[in-house]
């Protein structure tokens, strides 16, 4: 039993504890305490990770623990972390804590709401530390179902439609992943021995080339659906816009990262040759997502749609960074995942806060809010600036890392893809500034708005935590990139070896 198990055990325990609580107040406090402790736990893990690294432990995955689950099928509870998963864990725990904070005013079925939130987070935590494909899939599914309920029960607008669409599309993605995983499983004993789901064992197995070519699209597209890969992104706008604030934060901040993480950790690591083979196709899809998402955002009138489409565009950067297959671009992709997770969580949080006050999300109905709610307005602007990639905030460093990495591919195709991706930052600036100008600035259009209150303590706390994380990454990016580098190095080594084998 090592401390890594606590990462998934603690959410399970706290979910149970929430079920035992009485009254909304107790539930809220319990979830807040639980998620704060979880954050502490993750920080402790990070500390332990650094200590081990400093002590000279250079194994790719650290703090491993392995429990047999179904030995006859090669399934085990194998857990371990590298820098990439640690970054994701930190992201998750920050977003969860803030998600709990901004949901303070949920009064309908409070207990169930928080229970599902914590359950969702447990899925994410488990996913990021699993080194066994079966448990990885198990936790992935665990993270999908609560979303359906969160949107269906506490959502707004066409919530049933959105919940159904989201759940079905993500389930479809899961089905693709499952096919891919089984394919990998049954191809894992080509050199004799039992088939296995264990990622570490699989990573040294060479899956036959034609099997890779068939299985890779399943896995990549399956995880891609989670990352809102074009053209399977349409769950994102509807899902995000109907979801309650915390669920939007989780969806964009954590859930979309499950996909990116899976693409890197499972699809590219296990099938490097196929990854190389399909690389250009992914780049095309990613570029379409980036530009098309950005242009589609420009036409949106609903704040949540704006952020949802911009998420599609930003997650395109993640895929682009992955498919460039250079170490720098890969580091950039992971940084972009973290950065986008924080930034979009902040954005959804502040949109939710504005919506709670003004009861509208239409940009046309709002104006001059900065004067009435200076705190929320400033938070909105900071989130927007991060989204458009302003230096000093996290978006800039991750995008630039991706660009620098992508530019290392000197052929015309990759160059053009990079330039197109760069071009999107202008479009991003357009829609962000338009939205900010419309909503926050200008004369106050609606007299009722004058009486609105600025952020309450919980909202302030959540915003400050997220902003601090964003600024920390933006000002000291070497922390994050240093964390990610060893993991990215391992993956790039596998991919480079595969090229040599060819």
């Amino acid at each position: 039993m090592n401390s890594l198990f606590l990462i998934v055990l603690w959410p399970a325990l706290s979910a149970l504890a929430i079920l035992l609580c009485k009254g909304a107040k107790q539930v809220r406090t319990a979830s807040l305490v639980a998620s704060a402790i979880q954050l502490g736990l993750t920080l402790y893990i990070a500390f332990e990770y650094y200590t081990l690294r400093r002590a000279g432990d250079h194994s790719p995955f650290m703090m491993q623990s392995n429990l047999n689950w179904f030995p006859q099928f090669g399934i085990s509870l194998h857990m371990g972390i590298d820098g990439i998963s640690l970054a994701m864990l930190l992201l998750t725990s920050v977003v969860v804590l803030c998600g709990v904070l901004v949901s303070w005013n949920i009064s309908y079925l409070t207990k169930e709401f928080y229970f599902l939130l914590i359950l969702l987070s447990m899925g994410a935590y488990g996913f990021f530390i699993s080194l066994d494909l079966f448990t990885l899939f198990f936790f992935l599914e665990l993270a999908v179902i609560p979303k359906f309920m969160l949107i269906g029960i506490w959502g707004s607008g066409r919530k049933e439609y959105a919940a159904m669409k989201l759940a079905l599309m993500l389930m479809g993605g899961s089905a693709l992943i499952l096919i891919g995983l089984l394919g990998v499983y049954f191809n894992s004993h080509t050199s004799g021995g039992l088939p296995t789901f264990d990622l570490l064992k699989l990573s040294v197995v060479h899956i036959p080339r034609n099997a890779q070519h068939i299985l890779f699209p399943f896995l990549f597209l399956g995880f891609g659906v989670f990352t809102a890969i074009f053209p399977f992104h349409t769950w994102a706008p509807d899902g995000h816009s109907s979801a309650p604030t915390a669920a939007s934060m989780f969806l964009a901040g954590i859930s979309m990262k499950l996909g990116g993480y899976g693409c890197i950790r499972v699809a590219c690591l296990l099938m490097p040759e196929a990854a190389q083979y399909y690389g250009p196709a992914i780049i095309v899809l990613a570029c379409i997502a980036i530009l098309y998402g950005a242009f589609a955002t420009m036409m949106q009138k609903d704040l949540k749609y704006i952020n949802a489409y911009s998420s599609v565009s930003h997650c395109g950067f993640v895929l682009l960074g992955i498919a460039m297959f250079t170490q720098t671009a890969l580091i950039g992709a992971v940084m972009q995942m973290v950065s986008h997770g924080l930034m979009t969580a902040l954005f959804f949080a502040v949109i939710g806060m504005l919506y709670e006050r003004t009861h509208t999300r239409m940009t046309a109905d709002m104006s001059g809010l900065l004067k009435i709610m200076p705190f929320l307005g400033t938070v909105f602007i900071i989130a927007g600036l991060c989204s458009l990639g302003l230096p000093g905030l996290s978006g800039f460093v991750s995008e630039m890392t991706i660009f620098m990495g992508s530019w290392q591919r000197p052929d015309a195709f990759h160059r053009i893809a990079t330039i197109l991706a760069c071009a999107s930052i202008v479009v991003t600036a357009v829609y962000i500034l338009r939205a900010a100008g419309k909503v926050l600035m200008g004369p106050i259009s609606n007299e009722h708005f004058r009486s609105l209150k600025d952020a309450a303590w919980n909202e302030k706390l959540a915003s400050v935590i997220l902003i601090l994380s964003i600024v920390l990454i933006g000002v000291a990016p070497f922390l994050l990139s240093g964390l990610i580098r060893p993991g990215a190095f391992e993956i790039m080594k596998t991919i480079a070896n595969a090229t040599v084998l060819n």
């Binding site: 349409t234 242009f295 589609a296 420009m298 720098t328 760069c422 600036a429």
Partner: protein
Amino acid sequence: MLSATYIALIPLLPLASFLLIGLLGKRYLKMASGPIGTLSLLLSCALACITAFQYFFQAGRVNGVFEKITVFKFAWLNFSPNVSIDMGLVLDPISVMMILVVTLIALMVHIYSLSYMKGEERVSTYFSFLSLFTFSMLGLVLASNIFQMYIFWELVGLSSYLLIGFYFDKPSAVAAAKKAFIVTRFADLGFLIGILILSFHAETLDFTTLISRLSTPGSPWLLSISSASFMGFSLLTWGLVLLFVGGAGKSAMFPLHIWLPDAMEGPTPVSALIHAATMVVAGVFMVARMFPVYALSCPAALQVVAWTGAISSLFAALIACTQTDIKRVLAYSTMSQIGYMMFALGVSGYGGENGLGYTASLFHLFTHALFKALLFLGAGAVIHYVHSNELSKMGGLRKHIPITHITFLVACLAIAGVPPFSGFFSKEEILMASYQHNFPIYCIALFTAGLTAFYMFRLYFSIFWKKELSADSHAHGEGGFAMMFPLVLLALFTLGAGFIPFGKFISSDGLPLTSEVHLGFSLIPVLLSLCGIFMAMAFYKKESTLPDKAATVLGELYKASFNKFKIDEVWLKVTKGFLFGIVGRFAAWFDKSIINGAIDLGASFAEVVSDTVRMLQTGKVQDYAACVLAGVLSLCLYFLYVWM
């Protein structure tokens, strides 16, 4: 001697004041925010002066050449072992000159703002943004790494956005801020791609290494970048031109200038600091920083710089003659003067006498910063007095605001290039450089010089002479001491700055360059300027019908100039009409109908199938029994068939 600690304090003091005022100002330090900001800048300015003194007179010169001294740097973001974004401070003649200019003008603007922004509710926000800007600008000029420069480049863009949009309840201010940010962002795209191209081939982002690698003839890096070509031009040309696009955006060069006139929506001191003296010359600074590469390896790119500068300077001067908003006239004149600096760089060569253009350009940058800041601050005092930007609302103010009048006149004479004001000297060098290297540009420059004198004095006479204003409507007097002090000080600088032997300190190769004024040569430009001044006097000193007559004679030209040659409209067509209207709408439509439609179609397909299949469920027991029977019978038949 040159110690990293206090040099680092030069940009860090404004940063500290930004954080302090920005975080606590609104609640706790409302009254103190102005003084805090000013004080931090005062310190910063003093440190900059000390640094400049030490650099220029003690530590900077090694064997007679000004060295580039990297005070400190650390790796901020590593990409690969040799490519990293470093944060560092580098001292060389131009960066030292720039920190002097930036801190000095910023200090003046701070002092001026103490009085100008009095009574403004969000005064702490204002000062924190000013501090942020100063910090970013200092970071930009001291950057040791091209990516560091890009970072601060974006940050000055942000502070400019925030300050233009300071009066954010005015829709026009919001629109102007947005426009400024987006246009410069678009240009920065060029900058970014330029960085990518150059750094890929030079395998470094560090300025010193980058420049030496790319400007040493025959170095492997230079060979690699010059041999790779795209669409007929070498990647070096592409990289440098794209870098320049970034610079052109920030420096409001044609056709990316459209944001600058609108940016005048910001508070006037801000216009003085950002949109006249410091930020808009960042493009010039960047080209000057990369100058060895431009001049030694890629003269073609330098030609682009030269012609863009020349066209912009003429173009802006033409427009400035007809505008009626005092700040817009100044904005166009800024654009025109920056065009001067650009083409001075463009016509310059590297080293020795050939590098005269380089020295001239930076000299003009220096003097222009002083007199243009003075002009803007003066304009601020005028606007403060009459509460309007429109020339038609002004006139005869010379008796009401005498100090402003005199200082404004000094600045006008300087910009018109009348000896012995500072503008004369720097302009003279520019003209000399272009005369030596590029005659067509020299002609453009001469004509522009005349135009400059004309429109500046049109402004001057319209504000201070022309008609007489009734005194009673403007009971309050000229601004207080805090407003007058910077005006007077800057006017004194404007008078004296021309006599600085600039070439001794700043030259393309670091060796001192002596330049003298050739009386014979300067005769023509000075005469042209005087012509312009007298024409303006004839037109505008008293109310007369001459301007209208001239307008009718010029006809279409006048109209085109008044409408700013419709460049805004062209951009609007491209962006709003094409990108937003067509591409954006198409993307949104495509998403809604095609992508979403396909998903919904899948869902309705499932629905149709299930609708059909469920018809089997009649709910009648006997139907089910019949089905079972049919099943059993067919199984029986099947097995019979198999066994038989």
